[in-house]
């Protein structure tokens, strides 16, 4: 922890702490919803530690509670979680740790820890941000889930408190810095539109993956710069300059 404090700026640490606090609140709603759906406390408790990926756990609980087969629910959850594969591709080697630490570090990979890692400039900071956020989420997500399950009997209608708006708001707030780059914004909007259009027709989880077709929008803009004649390095330069500004 002390090395994390030395490596990261205070503002980044504060943002990570606030993110974890928000995760705790989402965990509260998750635990409460799970208990309200008729699951015993140990289901959200075990899942929040072992799966550690919020959206898929909500989905699993929802499908099983609606009478769905648990394996079908697991497959739907895996579809949602398949985005962790491109996350692993996007993280520079060494961020999740090396050797035995990596076995544990890999488990800490989630939406929040990946976004914070990618927003940092160099490898030590990326690694520090990844681990700080990852461990924070590992504490706050299950902690919130258990707490939510305990008070779940008291609060029946979590939607009345707007808790379902928290998860998308958290993720949106985390990607806003990257969205300030128009190229990324355009591709993200197109991907979101594709996912929305596909939602009525495809099983849960697939629409989000289908959004990846918008990746080609990230490519197009750079082709003219290349054909302008061997200016590829200078063409890439301004883009990397934008990155530090984009840090939250």
């Amino acid at each position: 922890m002390s090395s994390i404090r030395r490596t990261l700026e205070g503002s980044v640490l504060r943002d990570i702490a606030l993110t974890c606090l928000a995760v705790l609140f989402i965990g509260l709603s998750y635990g409460a919803i799970a208990v309200a759906s008729g699951f015993p406390l140990w289901v959200p408790a075990a899942q929040s530690v072992l799966v550690l990926a919020g959206a898929s756990e909500f989905l699993f609980i929802g499908i099983v509670a609606a009478g769905g087969n648990p394996f079908a629910a697991a497959l739907a959850g895996l579809l949602v979680n398949s985005r962790h594969l491109p996350y692993g591709l996007a993280l520079p080697p060494g961020v999740t740790g090396r050797g035995w630490r990596r076995v544990f570090g890999t488990h800490l990979m989630n939406d929040e820890s990946v976004v914070f890692a990618l927003a940092q400039e160099d490898l030590p900071r990326k690694r520090a941000a990844y681990w700080a956020c990852g461990i924070g989420v590992l504490i706050c997500w299950p902690g919130g889930a258990v707490l939510g399950a305990l008070i779940g009997s008291a609060v029946h209608d979590t939607n009345a408190f707007g808790l379902d708006a928290m998860f998308p708001a958290v993720i949106l707030a985390l990607i806003v810095p990257q969205l300030r780059e128009w190229l990324t914004m355009r591709a993200a909007l197109a991907g979101a539109a594709v996912a929305l259009i596909a939602t009525p027709f495809l099983p849960a989880g697939l629409p989000v993956l289908l959004a990846l077709v918008a990746v080609f929008l990230l490519l197009r803009d750079r082709e003219p710069a290349e054909s302008a004649g061997g200016r590829e390095p200078s063409g890439a330069e301004p883009r990397s300059d934008h990155q530090p500004q984009a840090a939250p």
Partner: protein
């Protein structure tokens, strides 16, 4: 809960499969060396996935529309985030606006 054994098996499948996804992306990356442009592209791809996740979780419920209250709350949170409001303000505003709209009878 219907069948505890079946639910536990489903949970184990989800947990093991998710870990496999987390690991395999990294293993693939270690085998191939990526040029910086491809790295930027992969980061962009992750943002696209997250944006799609935001859109679907904000606007849809199951295979249908989620109602107005939730996306409006998320939109308010997004505007606040764009204007660099503190993170907790963004999240609480999103939940607060959604709760407020529902209190007024907006679905």
């Amino acid at each position: 809960m219907k069948d505890t054994t079946l639910v536990v098996a489903g949970m184990a499948t989800l947990a093991a499969g998710t870990y496999a996804f987390r690991l395999s992306g990294q293993l693939l990356r270690a085998r191939i060396s990526f040029p910086p442009r491809a790295t930027k592209l992969l980061e962009g791809a992750a943002v696209i996935l997250l944006a799609a996740l935001v859109a679907t979780t904000a606007l849809t419920q199951g295979h249908g529309f989620s109602g107005v209250a939730r996306p409006v709350g998320v939109l308010v949170g997004g505007v606040l985030a764009w204007r660099k409001a503190p993170f907790l303000v963004v999240v609480i505003a999103a939940a607060g606006v959604t709760a407020g709209l529902r209190l007024l009878g907006v679905p």
